[in-house]
Amino acid sequence: MMDRPEKSRQLLLDAFINPNLLKGLPLEDWELLIRCAGASKLVAALGDKIAVNCPTMLVPEKVLDHFQAAQQLVNYRKQMTTWEMHCLNRALINLDIDIVLLKGAAYIASELPFANGRTLSDIDILVAKENIEEVEKLLSDQGWITASLDEYDDYYYRTWMHEIPPMRHRERYIEVDIHHSILPLTSRLSPDPKTMLSDAVLAKGGARNKVFSPVDMVLHSVVHLFHDAELNLTDFRDLVDLHELFSYFSKQDDKFWEKLDSRAEELSLYEPLYYALYFSKSLLKTSVPAELLINKNRPNFLPRVLMEYLVPLSILPEDPDFMGKKVAFARWLLYVRSHYLRMPMLMLLQHLMKKSQKRFNHV
């Protein structure tokens, strides 16, 4: 028999590889699966996946309750974000600029099938850097407020980050993250946002907003997960997104893989793309063409092997009844990695000094 920690990972992976594998699952395994999916905020996504792919599958009543409840919450948040987006567009109506929706909001606007069960928490948009001041001013004139940050954080955001401090309308609670770049300006990679912006396309449904072209949408998600995120258990959801995006776009367009490959080359994003392809294939069995994985630009042997070992440990939820130190250590290492990638070493040291100084001052 599989031991419990291993079982929890496999259950969740099976569910997203092919929900038919869940047929005849004993009730206690359903319980474990729902707990793990809950830790990764994937309960509604799982319910949706099963409903779409195996509509005749017998799912225990209690599990259906959990799916229904989670979907209800997802629908509500989706409604709130759609409304927020509508308000944003109205506030910026006189501004003749492109507003590109990112991540969850883009998946919804593009009517991607998996967006139905996907949880989303805030709105991410991208505008050209030269427009950002105007956008911020128009929004703050119309009731949006900037998160209260201290002087250092505000300075840090505005000098080094790829976004301005998050804004929120004072009567609503959906946060709006306004980006002008793909990655922090200090990051070790710097894909040019202008190239991606100019290739953006209008979202479906006659919306005023644009979304990235399929390859850029994928690459943005790739960069976010494998170059900026801490790769802990809340990030497994993003890997599921990638798996769904890869599967969907490669079905829509025969040339998708080629286009993705050359775009990654053009923007020098092959390293994070390698990891996305590798983990999507190895964990979620995405049908990635083999030649993409042996590209000459893939990461070096040592970091690659290390990542291949650490990421699955860290990103997948543990059995909540058997939490281990090994996973905690893997998460810590990847947390350090994310900071290392985010800024040069000297700057990181200064940043951490400043942060710890602040913490001491508060005590």
Binding site: R35, G38, A39, K62, H66, A69, P320
Partner: protein
């Protein structure tokens, strides 16, 4: 098998083991793991009629544990864990039971959106359910408890669960946290009422929990259609006054009484609309519990004869 059918020693063994003690509480199965005997004593008394669940799907996995620092022993504290998350600050160890109750409310409130959740007491007699939606302090817990103590079926004191798909009321007859003067009121009203320990200085003042009627707990799986929506208000010295409420006003009052009305979207609207359409909606001002119970009984009998 009920909680009271197992010995305290077995209860302690179950709940300190890795599989924990699983209990059916209304529609939910809760797994409790703890080594705290004083908590288990209170729990086993107040939940004595609830079913021990075996081999069923567990909805909430709760651990009640002491912190790992010095507060494990000195001025001991207790922490509420659900699925590896501790959403609240630690409580003093001797307030473990109210913490458990509060924590369970939190678990249900944030996740059980297969129900429209009302901040309401619910009781039933003659197959007709009455919903008492009200703000804290209006006396709905006291009123629902008093009805339960007079042989009405008690479904809930502050968690009216309306099943989103069909609008039926799901019972969850948990112990009632009586607050401040309500404790004395209930003790005077019914001397046989069984109350748990008195917890002074909680967020809501002094709290003591009332054991739910055995027959009500035994009917936890019997769903019922709502027949009346009554907005109660205790007013000292007042006569028992019922007033009919116009539908639009009752609609607003009932929808704003729900914890998750917004989250429920269209379904929430439909459930409230159905209730307003099919139920008699009244406001109630009262001070004398016996008189209220008498009049409510008459009204239900009347309702039934209308139906016939």
């Amino acid at each position: 098998m009920k909680i009271k059918d197992i010995t305290f020693k077995q209860l302690v063994e179950h709940s300190s083991g890795s599989k924990g003690l699983c209990v059916s509480i209304g529609p939910f199965v809760v797994r409790i793991r703890t080594k705290e005997k004083s908590f288990l004593q209170t729990f086993s008394m107040l939940y004595q009629d609830f079913e021990v669940s075996e081999g069923e799907f567990v909805d909430f996995h709760i651990d009640m544990r002491r912190p790992t620092n010095v507060r494990r022993w000195v001025n001991a504290q207790i922490i509420f864990w659900v699925d590896g998350i501790a959403p609240f600050e630690p409580f003093p160890l001797d307030h473990a039971f109210p913490l458990f109750e509060w924590g369970l409310n939190w678990c249900i409130g944030r996740s059980a959106h297969q129900y429209l959740m009302l901040h309401s007491g619910v009781v039933e007699k003659y197959g007709k359910a009455i919903i008492f939606p009200a703000l804290p302090g209006s006396g709905k817990s006291t009123l629902s408890s008093a009805l339960g103590l007079r042989g009405w079926r008690f479904l809930s004191d502050e968690f009216g669960l309306i099943r989103a798909n069909d609008g039926l009321l799901q019972p969850m007859p948990r112990p009632v946290p009586l607050k401040n003067t309500s404790i004395q009121v209930i003790q005077n009203f019914e001397t046989s009422a069984v109350l748990g320990p008195v917890y002074p200085k909680t967020r809501k003042g002094t709290v003591s929990h009332l054991q739910s009627p055995t027959a009500s707990v035994e009917q936890s799986n019997k769903l019922v259609k709502p027949a009346m929506v009554i907005f109660p208000r205790y007013q000292e010295g007042s006569e028992t006054i019922f007033e009919e409420l116009p539908a639009h006003y009752a609609f607003l009052k009932l929808s704003t009484n729900s914890f998750n009305y917004e989250v429920m979207g269209l379904k929430g609207f439909e459930r409230v609309r159905d209730m307003i359409d099919s139920c008699t909606c009244l406001s109630l001002t009262y001070s004398n519990l016996d008189d209220v119970i008498d009049q409510l009984d008459k009204r239900l009998v009347n309702e039934s004869s209308h139906d016939g």
